[in-house]
Amino acid sequence: MRRAAATGAGILLTALTLTLGAPSATAAGPAPAAAVSPTGSTSASPEAGAESPAAQPNPEPTAAAGDVPAGEGELIRARVRTEDREDVAGVRVTVLQDDELVADGTTDASGQVDLVVPEPGAYDVQLDLESLAGDAAGLQPRTNPIATTVDEGNPRTVAFRLGAEAGTQAGADSIGSTQVAQLVANGLRFGLIIAMAAIGLSLIFGTTGLTNFAHSELVTFGALAAYFFNTVTGLHVIVAALLAVVASGAFGWLNDRALWQPLRRRGTGLIAMMIVSIGLSLFLRYLYLYVFGGSSRTYREYQSQAGLELWLVRLRPVDLICMAISVVVLLVVAWALVRTRLGKATRAVSDNPALASASGIDVDRVIRTVWITGGALAGLAGVLLGLQQGLNYQMGFQILLLVFAAVTLGGLGTAFGALVGSLVVGIFIEVSTLFVPTELKNVGALVILILILLVRPQGILGRAQRVG
């Protein structure tokens, strides 16, 4: 007990240094980005903010908080990659409207270029084949030019994919087994990440009854902490990830210690606590935005890896390693829940806190452990998610409902249910893109969430009980 408190204090110290370090992260944040700034881009973003002071008195409750240079036209972001997901730098991309040149630019090291067009409308984005050099020389984009429509305030991303032959629309019209296998692999990769967030959420619900809407902010916290260690202090992403997981565990502990434990002691109702968690989620999300900014970033390492052909699927080595890490971590958690004293105590508290307490289990200690573990797992999920899709301030919130879907599907409060539910949700989301547009893939998962509640509210592995 005392030892736990001592390590807790040590962890708190880490958290403190972290929060103290955070403002400097903003100060130093733009620097690495500027180092790889778009070469020859027409964007004039430094001036963009200067002449638009917040003089608009009418408040608009927009959810999307400025990632477009304010009042300076609309943004088209062109991204050039090979089929092996390698970013191609130094490619000239032009934007045409009615065959007239509107904007042009050259892709940077991450294969991206931001092109600013004066107003919303329809544009053709064209890749200059002459400018392909080095390994990329001679490759053909699948479609060129790409027609796009830009809406006001919504940056558009246009992706060119370079292949050996032009216009090989592989598998676009027929559903091949390769395509299914690839989607299943992608789904598994995503599902494993969801699982790590879901187990924490489920354990916290099981032991304290709290439906924690701020769990997503633990995920984002892990990803951003790793980014901080990675870019600001310059550590390798693996070291940064380890530190971030420790910091996330500490953050989870801090969450419980500073907020939830006092609320439990006061006897605050569960519904009230849920609304508090929504407020906390909103607060933290915009705190991240405040510190981190609205743009999407990536870690310094493992960004332009070639995919490996593995039987039917193609995955990057970093994806494989992420998946391996997730599997190992999940197995360890599962083993700990089943075999160790603390794990058994956790399940006992989930089952019946009063009875567990009466039989000599230190409920507070269990809850503390669950928060630390849940925080660390969520943080790890954030890091892995960040490695795969890049980071932004609301990356956790974007998967929160999917995590809820996974937890509900598996049965709220059961750890193994959360695991099964996550894999089902992850694979379902990816495979469903065979039938629905990719932008709507999450809709399917949310519909399933509601249908499950209709048919089997206790979930796949949950025990049948009255939930209404």
Partner: protein, 330 residues
Amino acid sequence: MDWGSIFTNAAVSLIGVQTVIYALAGIGLNVQFGYAGLLNFGQAAFAAIGAYGIATMVAIAGLPLWLGVVVGVVGAGLFALVLGVPTLRLRADYLAIATIAAAEIVRLLLRSSSLREYTGGSGGVNGFSGDFYALNPFSPGTYGFGPWRFSERTTWVLLVAWVLIAVCCLVVWLLMRSPWGRVLKGIREDEDAVRSLGKNVYAYKMQALVIGGVIGALAGFVSALASGSVQADLYGTPFTFFIYTVLLLGGAARVLGPVVGAMIFWAVLSLTDNVLAQMIQGGYMPTWLMTDTQAGQVRFMLVGLALMLLMIFRPQGIFGDRRELAIDAR
């Protein structure tokens, strides 16, 4: 620091367009959450359905405005029914998850590019408010007194919206002093007790969800007509969370709670926004601490904090009655 303009803006926010939108949405939520105890976290979707009802009917289908209003109201009612069937039998936290998921489904569908020809994609729809402003009895000019001076268009929007608010408040007041309202409050306090008296709890909850949803759609109408455009992302989850804050601020289960809540909410936000903006402009705020864009984000943090603190320390809000709010008792 120009305190004059800061206070003028705050005063305008007391009765301004944002205030009326959130007051209406809050009145709807009050029926569901305040009186019936339903944790509807999908109120944004009802407003979105109202707003898109008008926008798509008028601008895309080319039908008259009144038909758009009918479609919005009926759509919101139907959505409440569809949402209620699977969720109203569930425990409160499940209901919250299911409604928030449903609201996201609506938002994602409305903004999807596959449905662009019907809903305008992520850019939304505009050019549908002509009929509404054609009915404007005010001739061009400025109306009002003191700090409250509005253009003829805003005056017309505010007039219609405040009449709607008054009517909705009256309806809610009449409903809640009727036997129906007493049963509803009984369900909030103790569902099983009401059930044992032979009442159909499920039907009552459904009725509350539909009424609240339709009032939410009215908020969508005002929001769409006031700005002359609709955009799906305006009706995301923050919209719902803002409404909850408005409702909890004024006091849930009070007829005028959401109205007073919205007035205070937007006046305070306007005050902080403007003070921060002026501090940055005047150079009182070091730029490493806060920039223009960051000042806009402070609002969301404040709302989050307010929601937490209200729920912890004063769940009944400013004017509420603690005995009226049973969510803390269970």
